[in-house]
């Protein structure tokens, strides 16, 4: 089917909107149309139907309002897309088209097509203070982060709205730079769509600590590309799904260069009749020799009707690699429960301690306590 014959297209996108120097709108629009129709898309959106996604995304022309702290410090330049000078616009334009081109990021494409603006955050050197972004209202929110060579920064992202929010974070982590990223989204009735694509150059380092609660519909895609030799990443996340909630997480780590290392540890709990999807994909390209990848996703179904889906996917195209993966869905360990109860702790309290502990293993950083409190509330 050709793009032009898709009657939904104009409703979906905003190609008729104002000129946006950072976007090749026509190319994006045609790519989006092609992706929308592809079988791959149906696979990637198996549990969160594309129809619902397109309808639930923020309106065209709607920008989310952002509260940003830490952008006034030395080493940081934060510029709205609309106020970018030509060099910045060229750079953002090239990033947005090149990086997202091959990846079938429907979510990113739609967010960009509908967003009237966005932010470029350009970072040099070692930042003293974290950059803290709070998403205060519904809308589209593309953010491009550029960490220059050898830079080091901490980025905190926190949602503060239940409205329809599309977060697109595109980070370029240049040679030897380090990005530590904390993400928190705890609105149980939210419609949130997030795509994070992080590209690491040689010897760059990316660390993620993420805490998510299920939402009315929450989709979170994380795509890390180890593009230069010696690049490494460590991704940890804790999540919890209560009754009536939906949480769809897609995590992809691509090893595109040799001597790269990735670690993924995600723990999730279903404590009501809700649905969690965790797809963790490791893709090791040819020539990415001596890649070292590990993925662990453990789920506890603490409610008989909790639906916890976990699927690790490995694509490995070179021999000289180390790759470990494990995915489990289970209940609390009887041995651990008995150990606690034998000390006089009631079975109810023992279950509470164990399930907190299970999530706490994947909590770290400045938002850990906030997440722990919310998770504890759900677990009683």
């Amino acid at each position: 089917m050709s793009v032009q014959s898709n009657p939904d297209m104009d409703a979906l996108t905003w190609s008729a909107g104002p000129q946006r120097a950072w976007l090749d709108t026509e190319a994006l629009r045609s790519r989006f149309g092609a992706h929308l129709e592809s079988g791959k898309t149906r696979e990637l959106w198996k549990y969160t139907p594309v129809k619902g996604f397109v309808g639930g995304m923020p309106d065209r022309g709607a920008s989310a309002s952002l509260d940003m702290v830490g952008i006034d410090q030395p080493g940081v330049r934060a510029v709205p897309f609309a106020e970018m000078i030509d060099d910045d616009a060229d750079q953002v334009r090239s990033l947005l088209s090149n990086r997202l081109e091959a990846a079938n990021h429907l979510l990113a494409d739609l967010c960009l097509l509908r967003a009237p603006g966005g932010w470029l955050i350009d970072i040099q050197g070692t930042l003293e203070q974290a950059i803290h972004i709070r998403y205060l209202s519904a809308g589209n929110a593309p953010v491009v982060v550029l960490l220059r060579q050898g830079a080091s920064a901490e980025l905190i992202e926190q949602t503060a709205t239940s409205g329809s929010l599309a977060q697109l974070l595109l980070a370029e982590v240049q040679e030897g730079a380090t990005l530590t990223h904390h993400r928190l989204a705890l609105e149980g009735d939210a419609q949130h769509w997030a795509l994070q694509q992080i590209r690491l150059a040689a010897n760059a380092n990316y660390r993620l600590h993420q805490s998510l609660l299920g939402g009315q519909r929450r989709r979170s895609e994380m795509h890390v590309i180890l593009d230069g030799g010696g690049a490494q990443t460590s991704l940890t996340g804790a999540y919890l799904v209560e009754s009536g909630q939906h949480l769809d997480q897609q995590v992809t780590v691509e090893h595109r260069a040799g001597d790269t290392r990735s670690r993924q540890t995600f723990h999730g709990i279903g404590c009501g009749k809700g649905r969690s999807i965790f797809n963790g994909r490791i893709h090791i390209h040819p020539h990415a020799a001596r890649s070292d990848a590990a993925l662990s996703n453990r789920n506890l179904a603490l409610h008989p009707e909790a639906e916890m889906n976990s699927k690790p996917e490995l694509e490995i195209y070179t021999d000289d690699v180390r790759c470990a993966h494990g995915a489990t869905v289970g209940q609390l360990s009887e041995d651990s429960l008995f150990y606690l109860v034998s000390r006089g702790i009631s079975p109810t309290e023992a279950r509470r301690l164990l399930s907190h502990g299970f999530l706490r293993e994947c909590l770290d950083g400045p938002l850990a306590e906030t997440a722990a409190e919310r998770f504890m509330m759900a677990l009683g």
């Binding site: 606690l340 109860v341 034998s342 702790i345 079975p347 309290e349 907190h356 502990g357 706490r360």
Partner: protein
């Protein structure tokens, strides 16, 4: 005064008869050792006493401090003063030792209608015991038994015993996996716990523990029954002759 009285105890596990008429009485102030070949039912006894699910008592009785122990859930047994030092202590990452120990002590206090201990006094007490057992107090911040060596796990069991001060401590092969230094530390801990109003039931394979913690009575368990009881010299005899002369 009898701490515990076990009469004609028959226990099945997965439909297999493991304990087949076990009798044992332990009085306050006593230390008993239970020895026996592999598969004789030693650990089954420990688990039945602590109330682990999956052990079916098909006959007999267990009376602990005058109460029918079998009618109580595992947590209620602990409230009454029973403690099991596990043969294989469980690792629980994410739950700190500190949190676990405090929750344990609080639950005992609350079940007994006692006031809860404040955090500062609690910390002081735990650190004191840790020092006694040569456990680095840093372990309190780590997950329960997380990354502990075999010896550290066993010392942590003894630490819990000293903190919770049970009336009866059942030690399930607490000596296995300990080097000689750790064995001495553990034995000192147990000896410091001994008092006229409590008791210890030690399950062990080896005589060497018994030269550090001297028992009042040694029992030989074979094929689910006590086949011989005697003084501490029985352990030496077993060390020399093995079990075969008793089980043949």
């Amino acid at each position: 005064m009898n701490l515990i009285e076990i009469n004609n105890l028959h226990v099945d596990v997965d439909g297999n008869s493991i304990l087949q008429g076990l009798d044992l009485t332990l009085r306050a102030g006593e230390v008993h050792a239970i020895m026996g070949p592999n598969g004789s039912g030693k650990s089954t006894l420990a688990n039945v006493l602590a109330g682990r699910p999956g052990y079916d008592i098909v006959d007999g009785s267990i009376t602990f401090l005058g109460q029918d122990l079998t009618a109580l859930e595992a947590d209620a047994r602990a409230h009454l003063g029973l403690f099991l030092a596990f043969q294989y202590p469980v690792e629980i990452p994410g739950v700190s030792n500190m949190e676990f120990l405090k929750a344990s002590l609080d639950s005992l206090h609350s079940a007994r209608g006692q006031d809860q201990i404040d955090t500062v006094s609690f910390m002081r007490r735990v650190r004191g015991i840790a020092e006694e057992l040569k456990l680095n107090p840093e372990f309190l911040k780590r997950g329960v038994n997380e990354g502990f060596s075999g010896g550290e796990k066993k010392r942590n069991e003894i630490l819990q015993m000293l903190l919770l001060q049970p009336r009866l401590a059942v030690l399930d092969e607490t000596d296995s996996g300990l080097d000689i230094d750790a064995l001495q530390v553990v034995a000192q801990g147990v000896n410091s716990y001994r008092a006229s109003d409590n008791g210890v039931l030690m399950i062990t394979h080896y005589q060497r523990l018994l030269s550090h913690i001297v028992p009042d009575v040694v029992h030989v368990l074979a094929a689910g029954k006590i086949v011989r009881s005697g003084g501490k010299e029985l352990a030496l005899e077993l060390e020399e002759k093995g079990y075969r002369w008793l089980t043949a």
